[in-house]
């Protein structure tokens, strides 16, 4: 059962010029839901995230809508949109160092950020921070606040960025490859904490990753993107254990595991030029592609139980 959506994206097209890099993307993010977006480099996952956050001025929304708690963001004046987005949405970047100024103490940066949100209360600041840190299992609040980001490890910086989102009372956390710059052991810890963040505070999350195992561990639902479009969408176990799109199957087969078997590679590279108006983009790499795939229009079809796939392959696929 879908919880009440706090963010609704419908038919979104966005790009850096006239040509969209992301096209026809629709999904709704429920309260407290973790929604994972997976795909190869260049598939438009990060562009989608930027379009939602409105973080890149050069990225233009070319069509469709983004509604945050029912308020349409794309038609809103820029200043109002920025205010609303920063109030409601936090961001964790791939590069752990990029969220903070490396040579300014966390305390100064926390106060600065809280002030800019009008949420700084000098008397309760420390107790607020301690509460947020406690929720994430961060100990020694005073020492962390006095430190500078350059003194901390990558994993620690990511956790402190999460604590800041919690402190600001944001409702949605957007994370762009939050674990891929971290070591295996720290990756696991980070994944646990993202889940814990949702469990203790109900923050909904959109996690962009190329790591399907992370998506399985965290995600309530998963969207698989290819060439700027969502090709499969469903609950995590539906997408990973009964994939309907050949691309999803190939991605799953490419994951290395401890059993020592060489993962099956996916031949070729994804197109980097964004979606074309007609024909399945995955066609040239698809083992099941038929003649009809070259001309078929894109459509995300319901395969039952909230599981959608965009494959009309003649020789199988979703059919």
């Amino acid at each position: 059962m879908m919880k009440e959506p706090i963010l609704t994206v419908a038919g979104l097209c966005a790009g850096y010029g006239e040509k969209p890099m992301v096209s026809d993307v629709s999904f709704a993010l429920g309260q407290g839901e973790i929604f994972c977006i997976v795909g190869e480099s260049g598939c438009g996952k990060s562009t989608l995230l930027k379009a939602i956050l409105g973080a890149a001025p050069e990225l233009r929304v070319l069509g469709g809508s983004i509604a945050l708690r029912g308020e349409e963001l794309t038609a809103m004046p820029e200043a109002r949109r920025r205010k609303l987005c920063t109030e409601k949405m936090g961001m964790v970047f791939q590069n752990p160092g990029s969220a903070f100024n490396p040579i300014r103490s966390y305390k100064k940066q926390f106060i600065e950020t809280l002030k800019s949100h009008g949420a700084y209360r000098p008397n309760s600041f420390l107790s607020q921070v301690r509460e947020a840190f406690d929720k994430l299992g961060l100990e020694d609040c005073q020492r962390i606040l006095q430190s500078c980001p350059y003194e901390m490890s990558g994993g620690m910086n990511q956790r402190i960025a999460m604590a800041l989102a919690l402190l600001l009372g944001q409702e949605i956390l957007l994370a762009d490859e939050p674990t891929s710059a971290l070591d295996a052991t720290v990756q696991m810890q980070m994944a646990r904490e993202l889940r814990r963040l949702r469990d203790v505070s109900g923050i909904a999350q959109i996690i962009v990753t190329h790591n399907l195992a992370l998506a399985e561990y965290l995600g309530d639902r998963i969207a698989v993107m290819y060439a700027g479009r969502v090709v499969e969408l469903g609950k995590a176990d539906q997408v990973l254990f009964s994939p309907r799109h050949p691309y999803t199957k190939s991605l799953i087969e490419a994951i290395p595991s401890l059993d020592g078997k060489m993962p099956a590679g996916l031949p070729g590279s994804p197109p980097m030029t964004g979606p074309e108006p007609r024909g399945c983009e995955f066609c040239p790499r698809c083992p099941r592609a038929g003649q009809a795939c070259k001309t078929a229009a894109y459509a995300l079809a319901d395969t039952g139980g909230g599981h959608f796939a965009a494959c009309t392959g003649e020789k199988g696929g979703a059919a």
């Binding site: 561990y217 020592g260 060489m262």
Partner: protein, 251 residues
């Protein structure tokens, strides 16, 4: 005889009054045609070890033996040709203002003599890429394509040992599978040995024969890949294994 052997290797870095022991009495061996995995977290000394082997740095003490002969502080061109390194940042490992073809050609000339020619067509075929892509600049290729050309550049000088430093960690899962398969095939077909550094034990288990687990500059466990994964003896190895995220379905 081992192809490559390290005995009691030590390396210390000092910066701003802080001293870090990056390698502490590291012993290792690499057999002919063997792929040796080195795993551990950041700061465990894996990359430092590769830099000593490659000749980019010289160890403070200990010795490195190539086919039983000590590798001195000053290496010959032949030594450099024999041991080739592939880096994590594939795009950054090429000259940004030269085409891939020009970079590979320069590497071949430097190590094999001025008249040596790089057969780009054959090399591209080995790494499964269109030779026309070699006319591009590194920034105009994807990370996976660049990494495959980096492998082509290493293979072009016909080395005996490949040193792979986190070569797949900047790649997505599909490019990673392609690069792993490619490296494994090249080593088997050309009878090359490799030292494969990674923080991902699942990746190491796919490609390596033996694995060495490093922690804070020391080797804490070493053995056949299956033995270490199935029956880890060291506490840190167990922690590494338990932190591998896997999709828990039967593929």
């Amino acid at each position: 005889m081992n192809l490559l052997e390290g005995r009691k290797l030590c390396k210390t870095y000092s910066r701003g009054g802080v001293t870090v022991k990056a390698l502490i009495d590291v012993d290792f061996t690499l057999g002919d045609g063997e792929i040796l995995g080195v795993v551990g977290e950041s700061g465990s000394g894996k990359s430092t070890l590769l830099r000593q082997i490659s000749g980019l740095e010289t160890p403070d003490s200990g010795e490195l033996l190539l086919c039983g002969t000590p590798l001195g502080a000053k290496r010959s061109r032949e030594d450099y040709r024999t041991i080739q390194m592939i880096f994590q940042d594939a795009v950054g490992s090429f000259h940004p203002r030269r085409t891939i073809r020009s970079s590979i050609r320069e590497s071949v000339r430097n190590l094999c003599g001025r008249d040596a020619q790089a057969d780009l067509e054959a090399l591209s075929a080995v790494v499964g890429l269109d030779p026309a892509l070699a006319e591009r600049y590194p920034r105009n290729l994807s990370g996976g394509q660049c990494q495959r050309f980096a492998i082509a550049r290493a293979v072009a000088v016909d080395p005996k040992i490949l040193l792979c430093d986190e070569v797949t960690s900047a790649l997505d899962v599909s490019s990673q599978a392609q690069v792993l398969k490619l490296l494994s095939d090249i080593c088997r077909e050309r009878h090359m040995s490799a030292v494969f550094v990674s923080h991902d034990l699942a990746v190491v288990s796919c490609i390596c024969d033996r694995v060495m687990v490093m922690y804070r500059g020391k080797v804490v466990e070493e053995g056949a890949v299956r033995d270490v994964i199935d029956c880890p003896k060291d506490e840190y190895s167990r922690k590494l294994i338990s932190s591998v995220l896997e999709v828990k379905q039967e593929k």
